[in-house]
Assembly symmetry: C2
Homo-oligomer: 264 residues x 2
DNA sequence: ATTTGTGAACACGTTCACAGCG
DNA sequence: CGCTGTGAACGTGTTCACAAAT
């Protein structure tokens, strides 16, 4: 889900589908757990259950990687761990910089999942001079003046942005100019990046809003039979409901509780 | 992307497509920014640019909500803000509990985007007695013994899990048993929930791994002509590459650097 | 003259169901 | 017989391109 100008218009590559790539880490995690318990093989059914997908999807996914797996038996856990790790590029170590060491940046710096496999926090960067030198999660914070130098010296190609939204684009631009080609954005903004740079975003409020949508729908369905677009408004007249300039009487959405306040 | 047992097998509802729902918060954010700058109307082209999508997609998305917008003119900003807010259920206030007040939980508690629109942190809950009563982001942490009571008293239907992976499922089970029907999971585990409960997950290491995949691909393409599955291994012989039990010579993935170590 | 709203075409993703192999 | 691997069917999401509206 690369945001910004990153659109590959129907890449002709016979590569792995994006949806599959997004599930490989899930499989890898499940497999790693099995590996730690010294389980030698798994069936697609078992592994799928552990990863929270259905077995047909899993088999299809694996078929893009090649014919690992043995009919009548299942998949060799260790072998699959290796193959998926390799496919994901986790056999090499990726140095990562985190920019913006506020609450969230600090939490990310201390997150165990980082160091676990393939990733290494190369540097923590913040614009606040008061932070410079202060160790966070055991790593001293560096000042953003040195951003370019750090990126270069450590050969960083992945950057994590945990700054306020207002400065995220500038930080992004500097990261990209310095050679970063993959960005994980926690700031609630759309980032614009040149072609060839991947951006993925993690956005708390978007996730909550999607949940709220479904939550609301549940509340509506709970009583209604077919479809109940009625906003079971707990709050009476929440906000001033504006209206567009319109004359005719064409259908305007599912009406229901569209207020009759229609200024000419 | 609800994980767990939450699969709606081809919902017949004439509702809004999931992909569209996932973009509504994006539009809403862009529109809110315009609203604050007192911009009265936007064209699909402008708004799409601001939201980081293309205009055809945006118009199609809006068409599912109804025929807001005026041909030849564009969309009324205020009206659209209201309509999307209503559709997302943000005209009512959603109390949210955050369980697990470690670094991440604390960061989430302090996150501005929470309170911004529609959401309110009803309680912070942690299992550590030493945390109980301690204010985090201005809210006193409560002990997890009281989880059920808190959920009930505040009518909470959305829960955020920011605990270690090991306890995430138990926390989830308790939340669900207490009446929570939407969960945002930051713990790196697959959660199992009964039907009717929505789970969305935010997983740092999965996002990084997806970026690493593309990053690796870029490194390969940069020199190779067609396809270069060569792992540009910085690290020599990263790990012992296992192999499956196999006799024949059928194609086994894209070979390339599949090691010739094949134990019988 | 613009810009929306939308059928139709296309691309992508998922599921089915079974052939093929061990 | 069991389980993988995969073509084919199906469903969802995206893009195109243009008629309709103001």
């Amino acid at each position: 889900m690369a945001t910004g100008r990153t659109h590959r218009p129907a890449t002709r590559s016979r590569g792995i589908p994006e949806a599959t790539v997004a599930r490989l880490p899930l499989y890898l995690r499940a497999l790693t757990a099995l590996s730690e318990r010294s389980v030698p093989t798994v069936s697609s059914e078992e592994l799928a259950a552990a990863a929270g997908v259905n077995s047909a999807k899993l088999r299809k996914d694996f078929s893009y990687l090649g014919s690992y797996g043995t009919r009548g038996v299942g998949y060799d856990v260790e072998y699959l761990v290796y193959q998926i790790s390799r496919e994901l590029g986790l056999t090499q170590d990726w140095p990562v910089v985190i920019v913006g060491i506020g609450n969230l940046g600090a939490a990310l710096a201390g997150y165990g999942g980082f160091a676990s496999r393939g990733f290494r926090v190369a540097a923590l960067i913040d614009a606040d001079p008061a932070m410079t030198g202060k160790p966070v999660a055991g790593i001293p914070v560096q000042h953003s003046d040195d951003l370019e130098k750090i990126i270069h010296d450590d050969g960083v190609s992945i950057g994590v942005i945990a700054t306020p939204a207002g400065v995220a684009q500038q930080v992004c631009d500097r990261l990209v100019a310095a050679g970063v080609t993959s960005i994980l954005n926690f700031a609630p903004t759309v980032l614009s990046v040149p072609d060839g740079v991947d951006v993925r975003k993690v956005d708390l409020s978007i996730e909550l809003q999607i949940l709220a949508f479904h939550e609301q729908r549940k509340a509506g369905e709970e009583a209604g039979g077919e479809n109940a677009p009625e906003t079971g408004a707990e709050t009476p007249a929440a906000a001033v409901p504006p209206a567009p300039r319109s004359t005719g009487g064409g259908r305007k959405g599912p009406d229901g509780d569209v207020p009759a306040v229609m200024p000419a």
